[in-house]
Structures are given as structure tokens and as C-alpha cells.
Symmetry: C2
Subunit: 239 residues, 2 copies
Amino acid sequence: MPLTHLPKALLFDVFGTCVDWRSSIAGEGEAIGRRLGITGVDWEAFADAWRAQYQPRMETVRGGARPWVTLDVLHREALDTVLAAFGLEEMPPSERDEFTLAWHRLDPWPDTVAGLTRLKTCSVIAPNSNGHIALQVNLAKRAGLPWDAILGAEIARAYKPQPAVYLRSVEALGLAPAAVMMVAAHNGDLAAAAACGLQTAFVPRPTEHGPGQTSDLAPARDFDLVASDFLDLARQLDA
Amino acid sequence: MPLTHLPKALLFDVFGTCVDWRSSIAGEGEAIGRRLGITGVDWEAFADAWRAQYQPRMETVRGGARPWVTLDVLHREALDTVLAAFGLEEMPPSERDEFTLAWHRLDPWPDTVAGLTRLKTCSVIAPNSNGHIALQVNLAKRAGLPWDAILGAEIARAYKPQPAVYLRSVEALGLAPAAVMMVAAHNGDLAAAAACGLQTAFVPRPTEHGPGQTSDLAPARDFDLVASDFLDLARQLDA
């Protein structure tokens, strides 16, 4: 089904859509474990537990219980809870601070950089993530993500799926929502973007949550595009 | 004189420092003149007159007389005044809107893209301009400016030399002011950056205002670096 209006800009979810946070965090955990002599920890389960605190902690900001803070703050607070649950209370604060920055060092999926590089030739590309600017800049520098701009939560001082995040990013590009396409591996993100008038592209990442993933394996509704990866998305957009 | 601390990020002034607004605006004026049958206009003088309204119009925002608006708004209002001064009141509104977007299509200086590309290998690079995000994205896409992020006036909702613009950009990068270097062709911009604790690099652009330029030909004080162009800056920073 051809698109009637090719998007002028593509906004990307990042955690899970562009980068494989689970393997990356597990790998950083293993490295810290080796360094500190910690054994017997399932670091993939640790990564899952850390990520499981993501939505409830952002909800304290979305609900107005606290002012907007960066993900570094939320990740650091969540880490204390997860370490306690895994019996790792003795990890010193300086190590916790450093481990928190593992979220700035996530590996891209194999198609991400090549796909973004092609998509950049025909469109403005930018993250529209709940990660703040410093985190996105560090991710991009390390992984080679060729963004044209860094948009998302920090410029809106809100967290997805709050409409402000989508609308502020669109406004920052000087475009109408209908001229912008949100790309994500998550049905909820795309539903929120569609409610704001953006075009939508679903790119499944069926191992984001590991081999037993049950969520977001398929599009839950009729998005504008469904692509198998970013290279397929580039083909469908004639990039 | 070697720097004691190499900067982790470089923030750039854009109008005049990265791009040659005067020749670019004059060229766009000539093209519009040909298309509309306008003759006898000195388009370089027109560009100078348009730019002369830049500081006083931003001052209405800085002084609090009006809320923050983008440069598109200020450029468009200024254009009406300049057209009247040049006897060009008959230019229709649609042409005025299009001419305003000439500020999104400015040519870089010859060393800009090569210099930024080298500097990007050793440092985060971002504009810290009074131009808004859409303008900077459009400039960068057209000219090939390889920014890592787009910072500046819009995220601070203030205009240089207000300290908020420098400090908000530094904060967005997650860095201390002393870890960031402001690069500009304008003494006033660098003095304001230094007052916020940033490192400073002066790169003169002696023809920004045409062959008779008298301002900003040399550094007015002891900045951390003085470079003849962006390639020289890269050499001095070992990029």
C-alpha cells in the first residue's frame, strides 16, 4: 500500500527500537561482576528487572508527583532497588553511578546504522525518545547513529506517551504532525503518536525482551507502514 | 600555548561563524529580484539592513517585552521594515514568507564542513545559535554540517548573550561549563560564554560584513584559543 504523503521527517523510538538495551545492560553487568568478584547473578534477569522499573518511575513524573528529571536520575534510583532485590547491596555508590551510565552505551541492532544512514538521505531523522539529550548524544557518538537533531523528552520536559513529547518534537522541526512519521517497535508508542496526528511505522524487535518475548510481536492496528527492519523501512520509503 | 583541559564538547555560533549569511541572503535577493522584475537594488546593502534589525528585535525578547519567538518570526517582521526602506512594499506576502526562509539556506565558509568533520572525531559538536532547531536542521541538511545535536536558543527559550543559552546547552550535554568550548567569530559572544565558565575559541571571519568590515577582526581579550579557521582549530585541538 503506497503512502500518499512521504514523511519529511522520521522520529525514532530508541530503547528497543534502535538499540538492544537488554543484551547491552547484561553485558555491562557481567563486566562489573567480573571486576567486583560478583558471581551467580543472571544479568539478563537483572536487566529485565531494571527495565521493569522504567514505566512506573516515569509515571511519577507524568502524574505530576515530581518535576521532570532525566532518565539518569530515574535509572540511578531504580538501580538501588534492583541491587537490593538481587542481594547486591554492597555495590559502592561510585560503581552504581558508573553502572547507571551503561544506558548511554547500548549497542544498536545490526540494521540500525545502515538503515538510518539510508533514511537520512531522504528525510530528517531524529530520536524521539524518553532518553535525555546527553544520553542520546553519547549513544549516537558511540554507535554511529547519524541523527540530524536530538529531540524527545528533554525538550518537552515530559515523558512518552504524553502528547507533548510528540507535538514538541514536530514543532521543533517546523513541520505539521502529518508530515512526520514515528518509527517504533512498540504499539503503545505508535498509538500515542497517531493520536497526535503523526504517521506511524511499526518495526518489530522480537528479541528486545529476550527469546521468550510475548509483547509487540506484531502490529496491533493499521499503522501506515510495517517494516521488518530499518533497511526494509528505507526500501519502502524509497530511500 | 597548550590547553590544560581539552574540551569534551564544542559549541558553535552559526551566523557569521559557520555560514556566510551576507553573500547568501544577497544571492537569494538577486534571484527573487530577477523573478519579480525588481531592478536597481543593492542586495548586499539589503542583507546588511536586514541583519541590522537582528539585535534590536531579539532585544524585545531578551528584555521581556514579548515572549520567546523563533527567528522566523523576527526575520519576517524585520523584512517588512527593510522592504519598505528599499521601496519594495509591493512584494507579496507569499514571497516575503519564502524570502524569510532564505535564512535556512545559508552557505558555509569554505573550511566549515571539513573542519567540523575533523572536530567531530574528537569532540561532541553542536550549534549554540540564536537560530531555532528547524532553521539549524535545514541549514545543516543543505550544507552538510555534521552536528551531533542541535542546541541553542530554542531549548533555553532565550537569546544569546543571555547566560541561559550557554548554560542550558552545557547542561543538555551533561557536562560542566569548563569542559565545553564556545567557538565564535564575535567577541561579545565569547565574552558572554566565558562569563558562564566555558572555554573560548575565537575564529575571525573578516568578510562576514563584506570587504569593509571593521568589527571583530581580532580577539578583544585573552581567549583560550585563536584559530584562523576551523581546520586550524582542529589542528590546535589535535583533531
